[in-house]
């Protein structure tokens, strides 16, 4: 058991309130930065890197004439520039802007320039999380750590979740499981509900779409089920048409989880494109623009398989 260390710092992307799909009840989800996978459909590209990253939303920029504050130091020369013509809003040279941090973004009055990721202490995070405690009480909710991959900051996650328990808050994590077993072993004692992803079954296709094969992931999950028999596990798959919307995938996940009593549910989440704009904010291209959200028929059909396996009637399971 590691001690709760309220001053422990971690790299936090965002704290999102009133989340209803990240575990039981109304929850507050804390997104941590850094991920070891590279899912082609990732809707949180800002969560992947290990350090704070510059982001820019041109729609918020009011232009050089009205402002122009970022066109001078401390911003590196040429990192921000304006094109000729009537539109005097700022553009970014992402190569030159590489190292821009707090000192650059803080000059921007509109929030057009900002940073993805900030260092926060356990206490800072939980003080905000705790504001929703009345909602947790009424709904059976709590805090969920997500990412990125929250297990890649194991000490911070451990400290945070342990302290959440100290404060009487229910805890959950969302993990893809692609971490050394030791990290999982360290964090899981402080987690009430583990939401874990089964993105693809076939290791080769897994590597192709996600950037790593799933051998270690599956081994971790199996070991976790066995090492922590009292924890609640919920398996999840983001359904991406053409990638993993086949019945075979669903059935093989079921085959993997059903022998373990503590895996209580398997949830399917329809892929969405909400992340698309964020690629632009980071100066990145959204590679595979032709992913489309799954139809509700597909979702119903696949969910029916799960309901059958769990011995439930299909009705009432769709959101």
């Amino acid at each position: 058991m590691s001690q709760a260390t309220p001053n422990q710092k971690g790299l936090v992307l965002n704290i999102q309130h009133f989340c209803t799909n990240d575990g039981p009840g109304i929850r507050t989800t804390v997104f941590l930065k850094f991920c070891s996978l590279r899912c082609k459909w990732c809707c949180n590209p800002e969560s992947i890197g290990q350090r704070p990253e510059l982001a820019y939303d041109i729609n918020k920029c009011i232009g050089k004439k009205a402002c122009g504050k970022c066109l001078q130091p401390p911003a590196p020369e040429g990192a921000m520039y304006v094109l000729d013509g009537p539109d005097d809003r700022v553009h970014i040279n992402w190569d030159l802007a590489q190292g821009c941090g707090e000192e650059t973004t803080s000059v921007c009055p509109t929030g057009a320039l900002y940073l993805f990721g900030q260092e926060m202490t356990v206490d800072q995070v939980l003080d905000e999380v705790e504001q929703d405690s009345a909602f947790y009480r009424e709904s059976g909710g709590g805090v969920t750590l997500s990412g990125g991959e929250c297990l890649l900051q194991p000490d911070f996650s451990t400290a945070l979740l342990a302290e959440a328990h100290e404060r009487g808050i229910n805890t959950a994590i969302e993990t893809a499981g692609n971490v050394p077993w030791a990290f999982m072993e360290e964090v899981l004692p402080h987690v009430d509900t583990v939401l874990h992803d089964h993105k693809l079954t076939d290791p080769i296709r897994h590597k192709k779409w996600v950037g790593a094969d799933n051998t270690r992931i599956l081994a971790n999950f199996k070991k976790a089920y066995e090492t922590f028999p009292d924890k609640t596990f919920i398996a999840r798959t983001p359904i991406i048409p053409g990638v993993n919307d086949d019945e075979e995938h669903i059935r093989s996940v079921l085959a993997f989880i059903r022998p373990h009593k503590n895996v209580v549910d398997y949830q399917l989440l329809p892929y969405h494109r909400y992340g698309e704009t964020k690629y632009g904010f980071l100066g990145k291209v959204y590679e595979l623009e032709d992913f489309t959200p799954p139809s509700s028929e597909t979702m119903d059909r696949l969910r029916a398989i799960i309901d059958e396996s769990f011995g439930r009637t299909a009705a009432g399971k769709t959101g």
Partner: protein, 846 residues
Amino acid sequence: MAKAAVKLADPNPLSAQERAIESGKKALHENVSERILRMIELIRNYGDPRLTLDRTVLFTESFKTTEGQPLVLRWAKALKHIAENIAVTIFADELIVGRPNTWFGRYGLVYGELDGSLMKEALGVFKAVKDKKGQGSIPSSSVTVLAEDGKVIEEVLFPYWNGRDFTPAFIKALPEETRHLIYGPDPNNISVQTGMLMCTGAWRHSQNWAHDFGKILTRGCKGIRDEARAKLAALEHPYDVVQKMPFLESVIIVCDAMMTLAMRYGRLAADMASRENDQQRKNELQEIAEACAWVPENPARTFREAVQSQWFTQMFSRLEQNIGGQVSMGRMDQYLYPYYQKDLADGRITRESAEELLQCVWLNMWQSTEVKLSPSAAASMEGFAHFEPVTIGGQTADGLDATNELSYVILESARPLPCTYPEITVRIYANTPDRFLHAVAEAVKDGTGRPKVVNDENIVPFYLSNGATVPEALDYACSGCCESRLVNRETQVTGNTGTNLGAVVEMALRDGKSKVWKDEQFGLKTGDPKKFATYEDLWRAFCAQLEHFTKHVMIQQCVAVTLKPHFFAAPMASMLHDLAMKECIDLHRHGEFIPGSIDLPCLETVGKGTAIDSLAAIKHLIYDTKQLTWDALLDALERNWEGKEAIRQLCLNAPKYGNGIEWVDAIGWEIERIQLECARRYHVRANQYYMQRSVPVTAHVPMGRAVWATPNGRPNPEYLSEGISASHGMDVKGPTTALHSMARARCGAYKEKGADLINMKFTPSTVAGEDGTRRLMQVIRTWCELKLWHIQFNIINKRTLLAAQKDPMKYRDLIVRIAGYSAFFVDLSPMQQAEIIARTEEEMAH
């Protein structure tokens, strides 16, 4: 792994209301009869409300003959004259009868004795609005005045009442400094207010009020008349003879008047029945005739009689006087329940027929529109604000759960109606049954803004600490927009006055001068902000200005309370009140302090979020982080931000109320404390405190026009923040954090901290399905636990609102929640429409 995705089949589902409009259906749900649908159609097709003058014409006739007599007696005689002579009509399909007008459709009563001096000017305003509507611009609260009505106003009403009515007398009686603050530099102005304060005392006889309807149902007018007669016979003391006799005589006359009017309806119904060929309608008319022959004279025997008696009483109340927002219905599921239960058991009604009778009352209420003659009043209550809350649920006076089958019937009866009535108000407490809360959440999801919800966990302790007994406190009824009443103990019937907190900020920044009013000195000279060395200096200036405004609120209240007994009486409202009846004193004399009463005047506030955010921006930008200088900020404000977008952006991005930031929320708490402390300092009677509240109705829109640019980034003439909500769109952390901030910024340390209004807008997708219903229940339960006062929801897609602006005809039935009431979206002004659209849309995070 993030937010891989949301669990939503249809990403943008519609609410029941939106579905009904899109598919051209007449009702939102099936539980509505053809009869009700026909009546709805007729009301909608009648169009704009028309002025109905009969009441005031008859009132005037009577008043001309009673000059010099005690006022309460004159009032009673006038009501009798009205009851004997006003036209009685019964329209096809009506089951519950009685109306002050002669057509089937919306109407507006006006009251010569209240503001007859404004009548002529108002005619011009009504015409201008109408003309604008004719030119195809977006319609707003527009009123029909027929040529004949205009003539009556010009030739009969205006000449008599001009100079005899309350409004100008009140204004004349104000100390000059107070008058100047409310009505501005022109000493002859009596119609338009400055917007620094919003003084409603001049717009209505009474503040929001709920009658003890149960009394009429159980005792009948006869029973009350008998009590008055007995009391009259027992008068002995010479002082009592003088003081109490006129009151008791008035009660007797009013009881007779109510019976007379009901009898006339009874005779008309009998007469129509005798000539009716359709057997079903014949039976209906006979039933109407029987009911009207029996109630309100006698105690009601059946559900139908109870409903008819209740309607007669509230209709009569409208003839008696204008109550702000009109008549509150009290705890309808309590006082009607015995009749419902008995009739159901005896097979006299079914649940469906009971629903239909209630729907008839709802349609009657819908037709009664509150038309305001003063432009300031109209702007503060847009979309024909009338709040006639029907309170259901909560706890009984015995401390038990009050929910009964009728609570459900009332709730369900309202759901199919594509109209703004009734205003169902649900009392929630810690143990509200889940079944009931589930039904409430389902109804909220319809998207018409009904029902609204008030919190026993806040309101019961409020009354307890202000002198009520436990059973009394447990028996409160919602009244007005989201306020409450103890119908037999409270006596404050004088309109309140709102303080424009945005203007208070401007006063602190401009040495007490208003930019919109061309540098008129409304506030104190608190000095040049550039010389404020610390934030504390600014805060002191703000407090001084706030106390200055508060003092004038109290001064005008004192004037209104003193003057009203010479202008108004309300014998019917008074005879239904235990204490007024006991002491034989008219409620409008509440300023003399009726023994045993809880008499709480009120400090209304408007623009709380605007003020907090303005002060927070200054503290953060000028003093804490030094990103801005006073010179730069004042200059940008003076230019209304023109050419100063970068500074405005800094201000917009400064820490904002509603986001769980402790020091920012604390400013809200402090603002309320200053007001409450100030009022305590000046209060006159032990145990009679000014309660502090934030229920602005739509006043935050016109009051925004009166305030120049504010440091929260708001330009003039944009609206101020609304209720106790954060500034529009500024609470970016979602509904849980917003509610937390609101709870924390509420000065609950003071027992006189009163009503607060919270609006929350969800997209239908956020509350879709059974999961969504549960979520909504959890939000309401948490709100209850946070001990907030009130909450209401708009469940609507933004695109629907935008579409309605483009195609008002198609969306003429679209109802939105404004303040404590719902209104047709197309009845609102463009500015108010924009305000609704800008309210933060809460979505569940995905």
